[in-house]
């Protein structure tokens, strides 16, 4: 039976996949980054239609910033960010295509042939979910959540340490000078 929920999930899922394909089909790098953003936003909308309200809103919020930052890095590091030269930036195309299709088919086969057991028809309402999630995060799963936080902090520090320009010591004065 086709319900309204199934329609929404199908629609947003299709949008997410379509934008995901656009990411690798367009030549303009900013378009590519924003296509990824809209793919993720469609996923957020899909979470909303699956009644995971907090996660949906969080996904929509997080990805906008992430992908915009992605966009500026694309412009910085690509040889042809505007895509006017229509440069081919791919390699091992056939292998990747086969790998992509095989993994898609395998995952769909698992989804179709596995017996998922009884399907729950009702989810808790959004306010209850948020309370439950908060209690879960600060209760049973606190250690995992804290670890995730520390890991992010470590990643931030490490990335910054790697990214800042190297400093050259000036032996005559003993002061640090930037290379550039």
């Amino acid at each position: 039976m086709i319900t309204a929920q199934a329609l929404y999930i199908g629609f947003f899922g299709l949008a997410a996949v379509w934008f995901g394909i656009v990411v690798f089909r367009t030549f303009s790098m900013v378009r590519s980054a924003l296509a990824l953003l809209f793919s993720q936003t469609a996923l957020g909308a899909m979470f909303l239609s699956m009644q995971a309200e907090f996660l949906g809103v969080l996904q929509i919020m997080m990805m906008a910033t992430e992908m915009s930052i992605m966009a500026i890095f694309m412009v910085m590091f690509m040889m042809d960010p505007g895509g006017l030269g229509k440069m081919d930036m791919t390699h091992q195309k056939r292998l990747s295509l086969v790998a992509g299709i095989v993994s898609f088919v395998a995952a769909v086969a698992v989804a179709v042939f596995v017996d998922w057991g009884p399907i729950a028809s009702v989810a808790p309402d959004a306010a209850q979910q948020t309370v439950d999630l908060g209690l879960e995060l600060l209760g049973r799963s606190m250690l995992i959540f804290e670890t995730a936080g520390i890991t992010i902090l470590t990643a931030m520090i490490a990335a910054t340490a790697v990214a800042i320009p190297p400093v050259k010591r000036n032996p005559s004065k003993g002061t640090a000078n930037h290379e550039h």
Partner: protein
């Protein structure tokens, strides 16, 4: 088997496939990271779908999604850190040219 769960899982599978294609076929580090983001997004859809249709009363299911978002953020941070360092040292982040570790 409900149609909603199936649709969500197919979406996840398709995003995973597109992500694998992207991560393997692109030559630029930033584009490869986009492929990885898509793979993680596919995982996230599956987690939300499993939470909603199989275990809606277990908030730990939602927590997994938060962890995947964390992983995405970490992947971005570390990836861009490496990209900046490599660009500064070699002048490009093209992976075809990155053969320094090849034996």
């Amino acid at each position: 088997m409900s149609i909603e769960l199936l649709l969500a899982l197919i979406t996840g599978a398709a995003l995973f496939g597109v992500g694998i294609y992207g991560a393997l076929s692109q030559t630029n580090l930033v584009m490869i990271m986009m492929g990885i983001e898509l793979i993680l997004a596919g995982a996230m859809v599956n987690l939300v779908a499993f939470w909603r249709y199989l275990h809606p009363d277990t908030p730990a299911g939602q927590m997994f999604v938060l962890i995947v978002m964390t992983v995405m953020a970490i992947e971005m941070t570390v990836g861009f850190g490496v990209a900046i360092a490599r660009f500064r040292a070699k002048g490009s982040v093209e992976m075809e040219e990155a053969t320094d570790l090849k034996g």
